[in-house]
């Protein structure tokens, strides 16, 4: 809902010129991506984690899935977001396995089975209000103290970066780092995918 205004395309770039009806389809794709794809993140992460051994690749894999899904949506919005996202993820994993030249046929078969198992109408969509706030609070509690303080001052009390620096008696640069780290941690919590132990 907050993704409307600030997202307009920069006019006149080559990239835009290549898009048919550039800004209209781009904003439709963005809207679709936020509304339909992002809520699947927890399930997508679970899927990737179950099917890829090297955990340090997961964030990159997720990004790759998002990029191809988004690029596809720029051309045409897929009719079934969930099926499309998992199909994309599955193809990505298979391609990676092929490239690694390990070709474990069983692994690919497993991927198929899992996609089928997970490709049911998701429960995550119905989870709206319950415990959202409690989870966020827990995430807030887990932040390092200074980072948490900066986020509380910024997000909850609504102070500017400069005011936070003055209040905490630290440099603006340090505040900036705290805010960036805090925002990332909270957002990951919102999507429910990545948990740092």
């Amino acid at each position: 809902m907050t993704n409307g205004g600030g997202m307009a395309e920069a006019p006149g770039t080559d990239r835009d010129a290549n898009r048919k009806g550039a800004s209209l389809s781009a904003s439709a794709a963005e809207e679709w991506f936020v509304r339909e794809v992002l809520p699947l993140e927890a399930a997508l992460m679970q899927f990737l984690q179950h099917n890829w051994r090297n955990k340090s690749d997961i964030a990159d894999l997720r990004q790759e899935v998002y990029v191809s899904v988004f690029d596809a949506a720029l051309k045409e919005i897929p009719a079934h977001a969930r099926a499309f996202v998992f199909q994309t993820a599955r193809n990505l994993l298979i391609n990676r396995l092929r490239r690694l030249q390990i070709v474990p046929i069983e692994a690919v078969a497993d991927v198929d089975a899992l996609v089928a198992a997970m490709d049911q109408p998701g429960a995550e969509r119905t989870v709206i209000a319950r415990d959202d706030l409690r989870r966020l609070q827990a995430a807030l509690d887990r932040l390092p103290p200074r980072c948490r303080e900066a986020i509380i001052l910024g997000r909850i009390e609504g102070l500017s970066g400069r005011a936070i620096a003055a209040r905490m008696g630290i440099s603006e640069q340090a505040v900036s780092v705290h805010l960036i780290n805090g925002m990332r941690a909270l957002v990951n919590e919102v999507y429910g995918g990545e948990r740092k132990p």
Partner: protein
């Protein structure tokens, strides 16, 4: 190895943009710099979209704002130390009373919260009174009793018991006497509601046949008293804890109708919710909301129930 293109570093850059946008002076030049960064690759755009939309959802954190703790501690006038000396030198009682009347410390104090307010008053005797939205409590010492009058609203009392100085809550013509307790008192149009969390307390009507309208409450008891009736029901600890969710800035709904939930939120906000459709009003919801989550609530009605939401001035109308 892949310094600029891995998901982690892109997410870090996207977060930096978002932080600049939110917390630092955001100039037109920066705005267009962001636009070109976004246009560079879809990887930038999806990372930014993801963070921005996720961060927007953390707006619910604002509901976690802790209660402001009342700075100036109200001390019951001369409190226990002086009172103890009365016992020893009984004849000085009158002088003592005189002294009380002229004590420099405040003998009466009133505490109020506005709509949406939440405040904890810590008393010098260790007791705590937590005020919910739109609440006024007046404190005074009278005949050796600590008296708190709930003039309006709802408060949670955590009382340090003292046999010599009973703690009495007066509200809507009734009195609640602490026998070592934690309890909440709420005064609304339906009457006075007293929920006992811990310990024991007695509730009695200040006027009328006291013996008929007096009851000792045990944990889990919720007494509802009007001018001429009193009833007591039993609730589970978790129901009572949910009803006291406001102490943590939360409203907990369990099979609550949309109309009731809207009314509950309206207690805390000057931006009022109106459920304009009779059928929609009967839909039930479960979940936890911040006491200030009007916008989030409206959004939920929209996305979960497919209802229509229009905001105009300080009124948000939910309709079919």
């Amino acid at each position: 190895m892949r310094p600029q293109h891995d998901a982690d570093s892109i997410e870090a850059q996207a977060a930096e943009w978002l932080a600049r946008e939110h917390f630092w002076n955001w100039s037109e030049a920066e705005k267009s710099a962001l636009e070109s960064w976004l246009a560079e690759t879809s990887a930038h755009r999806v990372a930014y979209l993801r963070l921005k939309s996720g961060y927007a959802r953390t707006d619910r954190l604002a509901a976690l704002q802790p209660a402001k703790s009342e700075g100036s501690r109200f001390a019951w006038p001369l409190l226990l130390r002086v009172a103890a000396s009365f016992v020893v030198i009984g004849v000085l009682g009158v002088a003592g009373a005189f002294y009380l009347a002229h004590a420099s410390r405040p003998q009466e104090a009133a505490y109020s919260t506005p709509v949406g307010g939440h405040e904890i008053i810590r008393l010098a005797d260790g007791s705590e009174i937590e005020l919910n939205t739109s609440t006024t409590v007046q404190l005074r010492m009278e005949a050796g009793k600590r008296i708190a009058k709930l003039a309006r609203g709802e408060a949670f009392f955590k009382i340090t018991h003292d046999d010599d100085h009973p703690f009495v809550v007066e509200a809507a013509g009734h009195r609640v006497m602490d026998l070592g307790t934690e309890f909440s008192v709420r005064d609304d149009r339906n009457g006075l509601e007293v929920a006992l969390v811990q310990g024991k307390a007695r509730i009695e009507s200040a006027n009328g046949a006291a013996d008929q309208r007096s009851a000792v409450l045990a944990p889990g008891d919720v007494a509802v008293a009007t001018a001429d009736t009193m009833s007591i029901r039993k609730e589970t600890a978790s129901d009572i804890a949910n009803a006291l969710g406001w102490r943590r800035g939360l409203l907990v709904f369990h099979n609550t109708t949309l109309a009731e939930a809207a009314a509950a939120l309206n207690r805390y906000n000057s931006n009022k919710l109106v459920v304009a459709d009779a059928q929609a009003a009967k839909l039930t919801i479960n979940g936890t909301f911040g006491t200030h989550d009007v916008e989030f609530f409206a959004r939920m009605a929209e996305t979960v129930f497919g209802l229509h939401v229009t905001a105009k001035g300080t009124t948000t109308t939910i309709s079919k």
